[in-house]
Amino acid sequence: MDNLLEIKDLHAGIEGKEILKGIDLSIRPGEIHAIMGPNGAGKSTLSAVLAGRPDFSVTQGSISFAGHDLLAMSPEERAWAGIFLSFQYPIQIPGVSITNFLKSAVAAKRKATGEPELSPAQFLKLLKEKMALVKMKGEFAKRDVNVGFSGGEKKRNEILQMAMLDPVLSILDETDSGLDVDALKIVADGVNALRSPEKSAIIITHYKHLLDLITPDVVHVLKNGRIVATGGLEIADRIQNEGFDGING
C-alpha cells in the first residue's frame, strides 16, 4: 500500500539554527506512529514543519502527503487536505466561542473540498455527538476558545476539534503533558474512537503512559534532530527503564 506520509532527508530549523538534521519517516494509512525523545530533540519542530508553521524553514529534503508536495502547500491547504495538529500549547481567541470557531473551521474545510455546507441543525448535531466523545457538556461550546481553560480542558478541546475536522493524519504534540490520569483517559478514548483503516496519527510524547492507552504500530526515538531507533512498543519500555541516554541507534 502507498504511504500516506513520506518524509525524506528533512532538514529544518528556525532563525538559521538547524534542528532537524535529516529525518526519514514513512507512515501508511491506518498506522499510528509514536515519536519519543528528550527535550530539544526536535519533536515539536517536526510537528510544526508538518503543519506549515511560517517561522520554521525547511532547508533540505521533501515531504509527500497523499501524493502531494506538502511543502508547497499553505497551512490552511494542509488542513483542508486532512492534516490536523493538536497543539502542545493551545492558543486563546477571546470573544470567539468554540461553536463559532468550529463552525467557521468546518465550513472553510467543506468549502475547500467541495462538500456541501452543513445546515445549522446538522452542524449542532455533529458537535453534540463529538462533544460526547470527549465527555464535554453542552455549556462548554459556548466558552471562548481556550480562554480560562484548565490544562485538561484545553487538550480535550483539541481532540474535539480533531473529531469535528475528521483529519486523515492527526499529529498529537505532547497531548499528554500536564494531564491527570482521568483527563488522559478521556483524551485517549477520544483518539481511539477515531481510529480507522484510513486514518493515521503521529503521537509525540516524552512518556510511555499515553502509549499504554493508545497502542502505536511503530515507535521512533528522536534525538538531536535524527531518528536514532525505530521499533515496536518494546522501545518505549526500554526508555521507561533506562531513559533516553541508553538509546543511540
Partner: protein
C-alpha cells in the same frame, strides 16, 4: 512555502460595494458660504423667519470661530469652506411627489434600505421604519401612518419645521448650543435635512426607527440635523447608517444629533458608519466631523450609544451624555476600525450632574495599515453628583507594525462620593493566533475577521440584530488587505 504576508498582499483590495454614483438630475445652490447662500437655502425650504434668524445667528458665531486642532488627526486637511456646495437635492423632489423617484428607489434598493413598506410587511425585511436622506433632503419616510396611530412623529426635519414648529423650536439647540463648537455652528447655519422623532408620554415605539444617510453629489457637503425627543416613560430604539460614492476628493459631513430623554424614558441609539474611507493610498474619503449629544433630563432616564465606525477618511466624533436627572444612566459602546490611511479620533463625554447617575464606557479600537485610531473621553463628576459611578474600559487592537492606537481619557471628579474607574489594554493579533486558525483551515483573512469580531463581540451584541450582522460583515471586509 507561501508566506502568509504574501498571501495577504495578493488578496483583493477592499471592495467598497456602496461606492457607486446615482445618475439623477439635481439642483444645487452656488458654491461657497455667505449670508446670501443661507437665505437661499432657507428660502428653498420655505422656512419661517425664526429659523432663518437661527441660521444667521449661527453663521455669525461660526465666522468668529476656528476649527479645533486638538484631535489626533494629522491627515485632516485645511478645509476651504468656500469651495463646498451646501445644498444639493434631486430635482424631482422639489414639489415632494407622492412616489419616490425610481432612480432613488433603485439606489436605496441597492443599498438594502427599504424605502417601501410592502416588502417589510411581506416579511422580506424586518420591521423598521426608515427615513432615507439623499444629499440634502429626505426622500422618503416609511410607516408614518402606523406610527402616527400611537402619536409618534417620525418625519424629515424639514417637515417637522412645517408641521410641528413648536416642538422643533422648543428643543432645537437645547442640547447642542449653536456656538458649541466650530462644526456644530457650521451645521446650525447650513443644515439641510435629517430626521425628527417624537415619542409621546408612555409610548413604547413598536418598531425600530432608522435614518439612512447617502451622499451622492460631487463637491457637496452633507449637513444633517437629527432631533429625537423621548417623552416621559417612552422608549425607542433608533438606528443610523451612512454610505457615499468612491471619489478622489474629500467630502465633508458635519452633522448634529440631539436627543432629549425625559423621566423614565429609554433611548437606544445605534450607528453603523460606513462612509467611503478613501482608497488604499489615502486618496479621497469622507471627513466625518460630527457632534452628537443626549440630555438625560428626567429621573431614571436612560440613553445608550452604540457605534460601529468603519468608514470615513477622518472621524471626529464624541457621542456624549449629560446625566442631569437623578438616577439617570448612560452607556457608550464603540468599535472603531481604521485601515490604510484612515484616522479616527472618537470617544465620549459623560457629564454626571444628578445624584446616583451611572455611566459605562466600553471602547474597542482596531487599527491596521498606516492608520491612527484614538479614544478620547471625558468623565466628569459634578459637585452635586453624589453616589455617581462610572466605569470605563478602552481596549486597542493593533494589526501590523505601521498603525497607531492612542487613548486620551480625562477624568474630572469634583465629588468625593462619586467613583470613577478606568481600565485600558493594548493587544496585537499574534502570529500564534493566526497559525492556530490557519491550522484549523481558516485562511488568514478569515482568521483576522474571526479574531476581530471576537474582540468586538461585546459591543456588537448590543446592536439590533439586523445591524449586528451588517456590522460583522463590515469589520471583516474593511480589514481586507490589512497586512502586507
Amino acid at each position: 512555502m507561501a508566506d502568509e504576508k504574501d498571501i495577504l498582499a495578493a488578496a483583493v483590495e477592499r471592495d467598497y460595494s456602496e461606492g457607486f454614483v446615482t445618475e439623477i438630475e439635481q439642483e444645487f445652490v452656488p458654491k461657497g458660504l455667505n449670508e446670501e447662500i443661507i437665505r437661499l437655502i432657507s428660502a428653498k425650504k420655505q422656512e419661517p423667519a425664526w429659523l432663518l434668524d437661527f441660521r444667521l445667528d449661527a453663521f455669525r458665531k461660526w465666522q468668529q470661530m476656528t476649527p479645533p486642532k486638538w484631535g489626533h488627526l494629522s491627515r485632516l486637511p485645511e478645509i476651504d469652506f468656500q469651495d463646498i456646495i451646501y445644498y444639493a437635492a434631486p430635482k424631482s423632489d422639489s414639489d415632494r411627489p407622492k412616489e419616490i423617484d425610481p432612480a432613488l428607489q433603485e439606489t436605496f434598493d441597492k443599498l438594502g434600505i427599504p424605502t417601501g413598506e410592502r416588502e417589510v410587511l411581506a416579511g422580506v425585511k424586518s420591521k423598521v421604519a426608515v427615513d432615507a436622506v439623499f444629499d440634502s433632503v429626505s426622500v422618503s419616510t416609511t410607516f408614518r401612518r402606523t406610527l402616527a396611530e400611537k402619536g409618534i412623529i417620525f418625519c424629515s426635519f424639514s417637515e417637522a419645521v412645517r408641521e410641528h414648529p413648536d416642538l422643533v423650536r422648543r428643543y432645537l439647540a437645547s442640547v447642542v448650543p449653536v456656538g458649541d463648537n466650530f462644526y456644530a455652528a457650521l451645521n446650525s447655519a447650513v443644515f439641510s435635512d435629517g430626521s425628527f422623532c417624537y415619542i409621546p408620554k408612555g409610548v413604547k415605539c413598536p418598531m425600530d426607527l432608522s435614518s439612512y444617510f447617502r451622499i451622492n453629489a460631487s463637491g457637496t457637503g452633507q449637513f444633517e440635523r437629527t432631533l429625537i425627543i423621548a417623552d416621559e416613560g417612552s422608549s425607542l430604539s433608533y438606528m443610523e447608517g451612512c454610505t457615499a460614492p468612491m471619489r478622489d476628493e474629500n467630502q465633508l459631513h458635519a452633522a448634529v444629533v440631539e436627543i432629549i430623554v425625559e423621566k423614565d424614558a429609554d433611548v437606544r441609539y445605534s450607528t453603523v458608519q460606513n462612509w467611503y474611507p478613501g482608497d488604499a493610498q489615502g486618496r479621497g474619503g469622507i471627513l466625518n466631523l460630527v457632534t452628537k449629544r443626549g440630555l438625560c433630563r428626567g429621573e431614571n432616564s436612560h440613553l445608550s450609544w452604540t457605534q460601529v465606525e468603519t468608514g470615513s477618511a477622518i472621524t471626529w466624533k464624541y457621542p456624549s451624555s449629560i446625566l442631569l436627572g437623578d438616577n439617570s444612566s448612560s452607556e457608550f459602546y464603540s468599535v472603531a476600525l481604521t485601515n490604510h490611511y484612515q484616522q479616527a479620533d472618537t470617544g465620549t463625554k459623560m457629564i454626571h450632574i444628578g445624584k446616583n447617575t451611572r455611566s459605562r464606557i466600553l471602547s474597542k479600537g482596531i487599527s491596521a495599515g498606516f492608520s491612527e485610531n484614538s479614544y478620547r473621553g471625558l468623565v466628569r463628576m459634578n459637585p452635586g453628583a453624589d453616589g455617581a459611578r462610572n466605569f470605563s474600559q478602552c481596549d486597542s487592537l493593533l494589526i501590523g507594525d505601521n498603525c497607531g492606537a492612542h487613548t486620551f481619557p480625562v477624568i474630572q471628579n469634583l465629588n468625593p462620593r462619586a467613583s470613577v474607574e478606568h481600565e485600558a489594554t493594548t493587544s496585537r493579533i499574534s502570529e500564534d493566533q493566526l497559525f492556530y486558525c490557519n491550522q484549523r483551515g481558516l485562511a488568514t483573512e478569515d482568521a483576522i475577521g474571526l479574531i476581530v469580531n471576537g474582540y468586538a463581540r461585546e459591543v456588537l451584541s448590543r446592536l439590533p440584530m439586523e445591524f449586528a450582522v451588517e456590522a460583522q460583515k463590515l469589520l471583516s471586509v474593511n480589514l481586507e488587505g490589512s497586512i502586507g
